[in-house]
Subunit: 191 residues, 2 copies
DNA sequence: TGACCCATGTAAGCCGTTACATGATTGG
DNA sequence: CCAATCATGTAACGGCTTACATGGGTCA
């Protein structure tokens, strides 16, 4: 069983989900395509870690709602205390940033502007997820307690929001340097 | 030519390096093992994007110092303005954090403590890199200008430092919640 | 009317990791 | 004395991406 399999069990330990939902919701933690997830779910079912009920829908395709079994929970618990691998990051924009001095000033601004737009979207999504989580738990004021199954999701959304904000601050900082040093070539900055 | 190939060219556009150094220095931007990098360098050489000089050393293995060619620079410049792919993140600890409510309190603290230690190391390394960069550019006070080939490295180190600090703050925050809510079970927190 | 969302699955191929291979020097 | 660092390479395998496949409903 690979790491992604444990990740799927982790999501299912909070609540049942379809393969499609798992595919969407695991993205911020572990990027994976549906073509990888569906076969893994089949394997997890054969191992007795998950089970599913088929749901027939009108006007939408049928779906399988997966939930975790006792076997799956046991596997999860024995995986938790193991040493976690170092995070893997691969970021093409950072490679481009490394040789940013090769780019023309407006190209450079464009690259940073694109990243800013990307993380503005991310930030909006994470904020929506936080609102959704507060609805789901009914705790509009405080935070889900350590024993709540939503505790993990809560601390991860907070982390993601802070991360996106930092990314945006970095973009602003770089943009300022680009603007400052290019006072001579009087192009309007991009909107 | 895949993204990693362009990454290698990006590093070489600043200064020549050995395959070994490239392997080490590209890690924060794009995780890759030497077994992937050496064959790519051979391919880039066949394509005429890089060239190398063999250096025989006493008391150390021989090495190849690679540098970028005009062809390689042209390839880099045409790659720069292309839309960059979204960053890829795969973080096993976040999967564990998602189901942290399943863990025993001391297990949970241990997981977070390990991550804190990891990023304290990262932070120290990035700070050392910043000092090294200031030595290399001779600019102990200000920052390398937009036209300096070290500009990209500079903004990336600053970004990495801020990222590591944020990660550490998140760890502290989570630790506090774990400590607070476990007042009843009077275990000593880990050192 | 063309793109996007829901929803699941398979197959081919590239990307990335692990393991095999070698070997001298330095530091704990 | 064992581990780590420097330094380069190959081979096998598993993980991940891209493409193929299907098909109704919604929105601009």
């Amino acid at each position: 069983m690979n790491t992604l399999s444990y990740g799927l069990l982790a999501l299912l330990s909070v609540k049942p989900r379809t393969g499609y939902e798992l595919m969407q919701q695991i993205q911020p933690l572990w990027r994976a395509k549906h073509s990888q997830i569906y076969p893994l779910l089949a394997k997890l079912e054969q191992l007795g870690c998950v089970r599913f009920v088929q749901v027939t829908q009108k006007e939408k395709p049928d779906k399988k709602i997966y939930s975790i079994t006792e076997t799956g929970l046991a596997k999860l618990r024995s995986w938790l205390p193991e040493q976690a691998d170092e995070p893997v990051k691969r970021d093409e924009l950072l490679l481009k940033a490394y040789c940013l001095s090769l780019a023309e000033p407006r190209q450079a601004r464009h690259l940073i502007a694109e990243r800013r737009a990307l993380f503005q979207n991310h930030l909006a999504k994470y904020n929506a997820q936080l609102a959704e989580l507060k609805r789901e738990t009914g705790l509009s004021d405080g935070e889900p307690g350590l024993r709540s199954p939503y505790f993990g999701n809560y601390i991860l959304i907070k982390r993601a929001i802070a991360g996106a904000q930092l990314e945006l601050e970095w973009c602003s900082w770089v943009m300022h340097i680009l603007d400052e040093e290019q006072g001579q070539c009087a192009e309007r900055p991009e909107p």
